[in-house]
C-alpha cells in the first residue's frame, strides 16, 4: 500500500532521523566497545613473542629504557628495532624459542623492516592522554597523599615502574601483555581518579 500524500513527508523525515540516530548509535557503540569494557580485554597475538618478565623482572631493565618517551611526552612509544639490538647483537636467548624470537628482531633490523605490534592499550581518538604528566604527578614526593585508579590511597610516592602498574597492572612480571584484569580504562575511571586526586575534570583537560 502506497502511503498517502500526507504521510510521505513524515515517513521521509522519520527515515532521515532514523538513519542519523542509527549512525550516532553505531559511532557510540564503536567508541564504547573499542576499549574493552569491564576489564575484559584479552592479549592480542604479537609479531614477536616479547616477554616483559624476562626483561623487567629478571634483568631489571627500567620501563623508560625501552619506552623512552614515557617520562617526557604524551606517548610512551615502543622502542626502535635498533634499540633491541643494543643488547641482542650479543644476547642470543637461553631457549630455542627465545632464540627464534630474537632472530626475528635481528632479521627485521637487517632487512630494514619495522615491527608492527598489536596495540594492547588504546584510548579513543578524541581523548588526549599525557603519560609524562601522570608520571610526574604520582612520583612527586611533595604531594603527601595520592589516590590510585581504584581509589586506593598512596602515601609513599611510587617510582616510575610502580606508577606504570597503577593503570597497566604488573606488566613487568607477565610474559604476555594484556589489559589489567578487571580494570576498565574508560572515561568513568579517568573521572573517578581525577576527582579522588582533586584534579580538574574540565572536558578540555582530556578531550580534544
Amino acid at each position: 500500500m502506497m502511503p498517502s500524500g500526507k504521510m510521505l513527508p513524515l515517513m521521509v523525515a522519520g527515515g532521515i532521523v532514523t538513519v542519523i540516530l542509527g549512525f550516532v548509535v553505531v559511532v557510540l557503540l564503536i567508541s564504547w566497545f573499542s576499549n574493552p569494557p569491564f576489564g575484559l580485554g584479552n592479549a592480542p597475538a604479537q609479531p614477536v613473542a616479547f616477554p616483559h618478565s624476562v626483561h623487567v623482572a629478571d634483568n631489571n631493565i627500567q620501563c623508560e629504557f625501552c619506552h623512552r618517551n614515557v617520562t617526557k611526552g604524551a606517548a610512551a612509544t615502543v622502542p626502535a628495532v635498533e634499540q633491541c639490538l643494543f643488547c641482542h647483537q650479543e644476547i642470543d636467548g637461553a631457549t630455542t624459542s627465545a632464540q627464534t624470537e630474537i632472530e626475528k628482531v635481528r632479521t627485521a633490523f637487517e632487512t630494514d623492516q619495522p615491527i608492527n605490534w598489536e596495540r594492547v592499550h588504546r584510548l579513543p581518538d578524541h581523548v588526549r592522554f599525557i603519560h609524562e604528566a601522570h608520571i610526574r604527578y604520582f612520583t612527586d614526593e611533595t604531594i603527601p597523599v595520592k589516590y590510585g585508579i581504584n581509589g586506593e590511597e598512596i602515601t609513599q610516592s611510587p617510582d616510575v615502574a610502580q606508577t606504570c602498574t597503577i593503570c597497566h597492572g604488573d606488566v613487568g612480571t607477565k610474559t604476555v601483555v594484556q589489559p589489567k584484569a578487571g580494570q576498565s580504562l574508560k572515561m568513568g575511571t579517568c573521572l573517578d581518579c581525577h576527582r579522588n586526586n582533586s584534579v580538574s575534570t574540565d572536558c578540555t583537560i582530556c578531550h580534544k
Binding site: W32, F33, A45, A80
Partner: protein, 772 residues
C-alpha cells in the same frame, strides 16, 4: 529472579547481542598497529646542516675550527682541515666550546652591583641608557687613570684594545696565569726572534724535551701532537726517539721513551752537561763553529763546570732513575742526541718557572745550535713577521712585577678604573699579592667587566657588560707560534645569541665609546667587522698566498670560507746566527734555583703546579664537559688532586681520597690525595684550574668535593731578568686533615710494574760510541 524458559531465552538473547556488539563494534585486530621503527628516532636528522669555518678560543693557540650549524643552532665543533696550525685536528677543549654558547650561567644582560663589592649581588640594567651611559661617564672621569686587563690578544682586537687604552690615556695589559715571558725572553736571547718558533717534530729523529708538556697544554699542543704522531708513526721513516726531562710525570713524559725526573730547577744544568759532553767529545754537527759558540777560554771553563760528574748528583739523578750510572747515562744521552740528527731540544713549563728559569731555557735552546737544528728541517723553525703592519702579532702579557705594580696602584688609589675582558687575575695570581683585598678596599675604584660569565674578578665589578662568546662574534688571529710561514686566522659569528640573551660585542662597545668620547681619529672604524674587512682588503692587496680572488669582496668571502689566509712562500728566517760565546755566557751566569718560604726541612716537598689538561689555568672551569674530562694520567675529574709518590703517601699515612693540607709560607690549600708510583718522592704535583669562589656552579667549589686553587699558596719568587712568577719555585709541607672523600676518577688502578730494561735504554746502549 525465577529461571523460566522465557527468562533463559531473554538472557541468552541479550548475551548474544552483547557478544556481537563487543566483537562487532570493537576495533578489528590489525587495524590499530603500533610500529617499532627500525632506527632510533633520536638518530634521524631532519633539515640541512651548514659548516662555518672559524677560530676556537678555549686556549691561547686559537685553532681553526668548523662549526656545524642546523637551523640557526651550533651543534658540533670540529677541526678545520685547511687550517695549517691544527690541520683538522682539535683538542677536547675546542669541542666543549658549544657549552659556552648554551651555558645556563651566561650573564644575559648588563648588570650593576647592588651589594657590597665582591658580594656577587647584581641587578640587571639595560644597555641603553644605563649600561653605556655608566661606562661613558666612568671613562670620561677615570679613563686617564684606567687599566684594561685582557686575555693575551693578537691581531686586530689587540690593536683595537691598545689604541683604545691609549686614546683614553690608560694602560692595557694582557694576563696569563702561566705566562710565557720567560720562554719569550729565552727565544729572544738565544735566537734573536721576537715571535715564538715552531718545532718541526714531524721530521725530527730525536726530541729532547725539558719540562714542556707539549702534548697536553704547552703553547700549541694540537699542532705538536700532530707532528709527534708523524715523528712516531709516520710513513717512510723510522720511529723517532723521545726523552722527557721533567720533575713531574706529565702526559708528555708518559709518552716518552725515557722520563728523567730531574730535581726541580736543575733542567738547565742538565742541558749544559749535555752541551759539555758534545763539545768535549767533538760531537757537534758538521759546520758548527764550536769555538764561536762556546767563546774564549773563560767560556770553556764555565762550560766545563757542568761535567756530568758534577751535575748528576746536584740534579738528583740516581742509578734507580737512569738504570745504571747517571753520569754514563748523561754522556750516552748527549751522544745519542748529537748523533741522531735531526734532533731538537725543547724547554718550557716548569723548567722555565724557577728563579733560574731564564738560564735553564737559554741552556736548553742553545743545544739546538750544537746539533745544527736551528732553522732546518726537523729542528727549530722560525716564523716571519705579520703580513699586517702595526697589528700585534704577539700576545705579550704582563709579568708578576707588572701585577705587583698594578695592585699597588689600585691600593693607593692611583688606578681609578679597571676594565676586565677574558682575564681573571684574582684567581690567577698568588693570593699573597692581595689583589682581591686591594680591589675590595679601594673605595674610589670603578670596575667594569666585559665577561659573559661571572668569575672571581668579575664578581668585584661595579658594572658588567656581557660580551658575546666567540661563536657569536667576529675576530681574527695571527697564529703564534705560526707554522713557519705567514698565517692569519678568521673568526666569524656562526650563530646569533639566543633570544633570552642580550650581549654586545666587546670590540663594538669600545668603538662606540671611542666615537662618543670623540676619539674617532685613533679608532676610525664604525664597527669591528669593518675593521676586519679593512684587514682583509690589505691582504687582498698583497696579491699572494692561499686565496686567489678577482675582487676584494671575493677575497673576503674566501677568507671566511677557509677560516683564514696563509702564504707558504713567506717563511721565517732559515739562518740565524748564534750570539758569539753563547754557551759560555749562559754557563757563566748559571745559578741554582731559589726556593723561598719554608726551606728544605725533611718534612717539605717541591711543589710543581701544572696546567690542567682541559681547564688549563681555570679559564675553562665553567664548562662541564671539560670538568668531567678525565685527566689523561690520573683520570680524576671535577677536583683538585695532589700527586704523591706511593711511599710518600705511606709515610704521611694517607691513601687515595684522603684530604691533605698543603701549606707554604704564604697560605694553605686542601687537596685530595692521588698516590702514584710515577711521582718523584720529594715532589708533589697539583693541577691549576679549580677553586674559584665566584661564578658558574660548575667552576666554583662543589659540596662533597675538594677543589682548591694552588695559586693561593705560591711564593712570589721572580724569574731572574724576566720579572715573571717562578710558579714552580715553592716548597710546601703536607699534613693529614683526617677527612676523606671519594675521588672522582675512572675505576681501576694502573700500577707500574718492573719490566726490566726498557727498549729505549736498550737503544741508548746500542748507539753509544763504543757500539756505534
Amino acid at each position: 529472579m525465577k529461571l523460566t524458559r522465557r527468562n533463559f531465552l531473554a538472557w541468552a538473547g541479550l548475551g548474544a547481542v552483547g557478544a556481537v556488539a563487543c566483537e562487532g563494534f570493537g576495533i578489528r585486530r590489525g587495524e590499530l598497529n603500533i610500529q617499532s621503527p627500525v632506527r632510533l628516532p633520536e638518530d634521524l636528522v631532519r633539515g640541512n646542516d651548514n659548516w662555518y669555518a672559524s677560530l676556537c678560543r678555549t686556549c691561547p693557540s686559537c685553532e681553526g675550527i668548523v662549526v656545524r650549524v642546523m637551523e640557526g643552532r651550533a651543534k658540533k665543533i670540529q677541526g678545520n682541515p685547511l687550517y695549517p696550525i691544527n690541520q683538522g685536528k682539535t683538542h677536547a677543549r675546542c669541542e666543549a666550546g658549544l657549552q659556552a654558547l648554551y651555558h645556563p650561567d651566561r650573564i644575559p644582560s648588563p648588570m650593576r652591583r647592588s651589594g657590597p663589592r665582591g658580594s656577587g649581588q647584581f641587578l640587571p640594567v639595560s644597555w641603553q641608557p644605563t649600561g653605556m651611559d655608566s661606562l661613558r661617564t666612568a671613562l670620561q672621569a677615570r679613563g686617564s687613570s684606567s687599566v684594561m686587563i685582557t686575555e693575551p690578544l693578537r691581531g686586530h682586537l689587540g690593536l683595537l684594545a691598545d689604541r683604545f687604552a691609549s686614546a683614553i690615556g690608560g694602560e692595557r695589559l694582557g694576563f696569563e696565569t702561566l705566562d710565557n715571558n720567560t720562554y719569550r725572553a729565552a727565544i729572544k736571547n738565544v735566537f734573536q726572534q721576537d715571535s715564538l718558533p715552531d718545532f718541526d717534530l714531524e721530521n725530527s729523529r730525536f726530541i729532547l724535551s725539558f719540562g714542556a708538556d707539549f702534548l697536553s697544554t704547552w703553547v700549541s699542543p694540537t699542532r705538536f701532537s700532530r707532528g709527534y704522531g708523524e715523528f712516531r708513526q709516520g710513513a717512510d721513516r723510522d720511529r723517532g726517539m723521545f726523552y722527557q726531562i721533567d720533575s713531574r710525570f706529565s702526559m708528555t713524559a708518559a709518552n716518552s721513551d725515557k722520563w728523567l725526573p730531574v730535581r726541580p730547577g736543575w733542567e738547565g744544568h742538565v742541558a749544559l752537561s749535555l752541551a759539555q759532553v758534545i763539545v768535549s767529545e767533538g760531537l757537534q754537527a758538521p759546520g758548527v763553529d764550536v769555538d764561536a759558540l762556546v767563546g774564549d777560554e773563560a767560556g770553556i771553563q764555565s762550560l766545563n763546570r757542568f761535567r756530568p760528574e758534577v751535575v748528576a748528583p746536584s740534579a738528583g739523578l740516581t742509578s734507580e732513575m737512569t738504570g745504571g750510572d747517571p753520569v754514563d747515562f748523561l754522556r750516552n744521552l748527549a751522544r745519542s742526541f748529537a748523533r741522531t740528527r735531526p734532533s731538537v731540544a725543547i724547554g718550557g713549563g716548569s723548567a722555565g718557572a724557577q728563579s733560574n728559569g731564564l738560564f735553564s731555557l737559554e741552556a736548553i735552546y742553545a743545544l739546538n745550535y750544537l746539533v745544527g737544528s736551528v732553522g732546518v728541517k726537523g729542528g727549530v723553525k722560525f716564523n716571519p713577521d705579520s703580513p699586517w703592519d702595526g697589528v700585534p702579532a704577539s700576545s705579550k702579557v704582563g709579568n708578576l712585577e707588572d701585577w705587583t705594580r698594578i695592585t699597588e696602584q689600585i691600593r693607593s688609589g692611583q688606578t681609578k678604573m679597571l676594565m676586565l675582558h677574558g682575564a681573571d687575575p684574582i684567581h690567577g695570581l698568588p693570593e699573597s699579592l692581595r689583589l682581591r683585598d686591594a680591589i675590595t678596599q679601594s673605595e674610589d675604584l670603578f670596575v667594569v667587566s666585559f665577561s659573559p660569565f661571572l668569575d672571581d674578578t668579575s664578581a668585584m665589578a661595579d658594572l658588567i657588560l656581557p660580551d658575546r662568546v666567540y661563536l657569536e662574534d667576529w675576530g681574527d688571529d695571527i697564529s703564534e707560534p705560526g707554522p713557519g710561514y705567514q698565517i692569519i686566522g678568521m673568526q666569524q659569528p656562526v650563530v646569533n645569541p639566543l633570544p633570552d640573551l642580550d650581549p654586545l660585542s666587546f670590540p663594538d662597545v669600545l668603538l662606540t665609546m671611542a666615537q662618543e668620547l670623540g676619539r674617532e681619529s685613533q679608532l676610525p672604524w664604525a664597527n669591528y667587522k669593518s675593521m676586519l674587512r679593512e684587514g682583509s682588503d690589505a691582504l687582498f692587496a698583497l696579491n699572494r698566498g692561499s686565496i686567489e680572488a678577482a675582487s676584494a669582496d671575493e677575497f673576503w668571502n674566501q677568507l671566511l670560507r677557509r677560516g683564514g689566509w696563509w702564504d707558504e712562500g713567506s717563511k721565517g728566517p732559515a739562518i740565524v746566527q748564534a750570539p758569539s760565546g753563547l754557551l759560555g755566557n749562559i754557563a757563566s751566569k748559571a745559578s741554582d734555583p731559589d726556593f723561598g718560604g719554608i726551606g728544605f726541612g725533611s718534612d717539605s716537598y717541591y711543589l710543581v703546579p701544572f696546567a690542567h689538561n682541559s681547564l688549563l689555568d681555570g679559564f675553562n672551569g665553567h664548562l662541564p664537559w671539560l670538568q668531567s674530562a678525565p685527566d689523561p694520567l690520573s683520570t680524576v675529574t671535577w677536583q683538585t688532586w695532589v700527586e704523591l709518590n706511593d711511599n710518600t703517601a705511606d709515610r704521611l699515612g694517607v691513601k687515595e681520597g684522603d684530604i691533605v693540607r698543603i701549606e707554604s709560607s704564604k697560605d694553605s690549600i686542601r687537596a685530595v690525595v692521588y698516590p702514584t708510583p710515577a711521582a718523584p718522592p720529594d715532589v708533589i704535583g697539583v693541577p691549576l684550574g679549580q677553586g674559584r669562589r665566584h661564578g658558574s656552579d660548575y667552576a666554583t667549589d662543589r659540596p662533597g668535593t675538594e677543589s682548591s686553587n694552588v695559586m693561593d699558596i705560591l711564593e712570589t719568587t721572580l724569574v731572574k731578568d724576566t720579572g715573571s712568577l717562578a710558579w714552580a719555585g715553592t716548597r710546601v709541607r703536607v699534613s693529614k686533615t683526617g677527612e676523606s672523600v671519594s675521588i672522582s676518577k675512572l675505576e681501576g688502578n694502573a700500577r707500574a710494574v718492573e719490566i726490566g730494561l726498557t727498549p729505549a735504554e736498550e737503544i741508548i746502549k746500542t748507539i753509544s760510541p763504543e757500539n756505534s
